[in-house]
Symmetry: C2
Subunit: 253 residues, 2 copies
C-alpha cells in the first residue's frame, strides 16, 4: 500500500485543508471523528491521524482527548517554496518580483561562514549581494553565501535571473529544511544606498540556513527588508513548537 506519487495521508490532509478553508466546518467548528474520516476516505485510522498531524502542525486545528478536533483558522497556508523563494512569494501575492546582482565574489570561508555552511575553514565559498524589488521598487537586500558546489551553479546564472532558487532546483538542488532567525538591524551604507533609506534606519532581518534532504547546507542568507514590506507568521503548540524567542542580537552582522 505504498509507492504512490503522493502519499495517501497528504491527499487526505490537502482535502481536509481545502474543506476547512472553504468553511465546510466553520470557524471554531468541529471536524468529523477520526473513525468517520477513515471510513469516508477508505483508509486506516493511522493514516487519518498522520493527515491530522499535518493540519495540526500548520495551525489549522486544535485537538485533545475526549472531543472532536476544532478548527483554529480557515486561511490557506503557504508552501515551503514560497517561504524560501522571494520570487515565488512575490508572485503568490500578485506582485512582480525582480532582482539585480550587485556583487558576486568567491573566496575562502571565514570562521562564521564555515560553521554556518559546515565546510572547512578557508574552503572556497561564493558570496552574492542582491537587491530584490517588487514592481520595480527596492524592498530587500539579500546577502547569500553558497558552498563551492552550489556556488558553481550560481556562477553560471545570468545576473538578472529572477529566481536563483527555482534555477537551482531545476539543476537538481533540493531544499528540504531551513532554520530562520528574525530580528532588527540598522541599515549600513550599502543597505541605505540600495534601498534608498537612511543609514542607521531600522530594517527587518531574516537570516536563513537552508539544507538539502541529506542535511547538507545549501545556502546561508541574510535578508534585510524595508519596514512595511513583509510580515512573517508562525504557529506553535505545546507539543512541539517550531518558533522560539532569543535574546538581543544573536549574530549581529
Amino acid at each position: 500500500m505504498a509507492g504512490r506519487a503522493q502519499a495517501l495521508y497528504r491527499k487526505v490532509a490537502a482535502d481536509l485543508e481545502r474543506g476547512i478553508s472553504e468553511g465546510a466546518y466553520g470557524s471554531g467548528g468541529k471536524l468529523p471523528a477520526e473513525g468517520v474520516l477513515a471510513e469516508q476516505y477508505g483508509v486506516s485510522r493511522g493514516t487519518v491521524r498522520q493527515a491530522m498531524s499535518v493540519l495540526r502542525a500548520n495551525g489549522f486545528v486544535a485537538s485533545r482527548r475526549g472531543t472532536r478536533r476544532v478548527v483554529l483558522r480557515t486561511s490557506q497556508s503557504q508552501s515551503f517554496g514560497e517561504l524560501l523563494s522571494f520570487t515565488r512569494w512575490a508572485r503568490s501575492t500578485g506582485e512582480e518580483p525582480g532582482g539585480r546582482v550587485v556583487r558576486a565574489v568567491q573566496g575562502p570561508a571565514s570562521g562564521t561562514e564555515s560553521a554556518r555552511l559546515r565546510v572547512a575553514e578557508g574552503a572556497e565559498v561564493c558570496r552574492v549581494l542582491r537587491v530584490r524589488t517588487l514592481s520595480g521598487r527596492p524592498v530587500m537586500v539579500e546577502r547569500t553565501v553558497y558552498p563551492e558546489a552550489v556556488g558553481a551553479l550560481v556562477a553560471e546564472l545570468e545576473p538578472d535571473t529572477v529566481s536563483f532558487t527555482v534555477r537551482l532546483e531545476e539543476q537538481g538542488v533540493l531544499f528540504a529544511d531551513a532554520q530562520h532567525t528574525i530580528d532588527l538591524v540598522p541599515a549600513d551604507a550599502t543597505d541605505a544606498e540600495l534601498l534608498g533609506c537612511g543609514e542607521g534606519d531600522v530594517l527587518l532581518r531574516e537570516q536563513r540556513r537552508s539544507t538539502d534532504p541529506a542535511g547538507a547546507p545549501i545556502e546561508f542568507s541574510e535578508d534585510r527588508y524595508l519596514p512595511g514590506t513583509v510580515a512573517f507568521t508562525a504557529n506553535s503548540s505545546a507539543g512541539s513548537g517550531s518558533l522560539a524567542r532569543r535574546a538581543g542580537r544573536p549574530s549581529s552582522g
Copy 2:
C-alpha cells in the same frame, strides 16, 4: 501500554535531544537506525518514529529514505512556555523580568477584537496595556485583549504581578496553541513615552493569538520591542512548515 505521566515517545525524544545537544552524534553526524533505537529503548518502531517526528519538527534532524537521520543542529530548544511568557523567557536568558500595568479597562469588543477572540461583537473584553522591563530597562510594550472569562481572572491580579501567564495557568487556564505574526511598526506616542524612544521609530511587533486545548481563544496580544532586544527563531521543512511570509502590514495597528 498507555496511561503514563509522560508518553513513552516523549521520553525517547527528550533523551535523544539530550544526546544530540551533548554532541553524542556530532554536528552533521548520523543517528542510529530506527530499529536499533527501538531495541535500545525497548519500544516499537512506531514509537521511535513518533519521537523522531518531534525532533524533526524542532529542527534537530533531517531525514530521508535510504540513509540514517542526520543531525542538523545541536543547540537546546526552547519550551512553548518560554515563547508565550515574557517572564519565563527573560529568566531563561538570565535577565530579571519586570512588568507594570499602565492601563486596564473593560469594554465592548470592536469588530477586529471580536473576530480575534471569537466572541460576539460588543461582548465585554478586558484590555491591558503594560510595559515590560529587563533589569529595570523598558524593552517592550504589550497590548493584550482577554475575553470576559479570562479578563475576570486578570482583573484580580495585582498591577505589579510579574507574570500574568503563570498566574493564569495556576488558575487552570491552559495555553495549548498560538498563532504569531512578526513585522515592523512605527512607535506611536504611547510607545515612545513608555520605551523612551522617538515617535515613529521602528519597533519589532509580535502579534499573538493564544488558544486553550479546546481551541477557545485565551488572549490576543500585540507586543512591540525595541531594536536589539529580541530575536525570533523558527524551523521549517518541505513536509510541513509552520513559518510563512506575508505581504506588507496584514493588520496594521
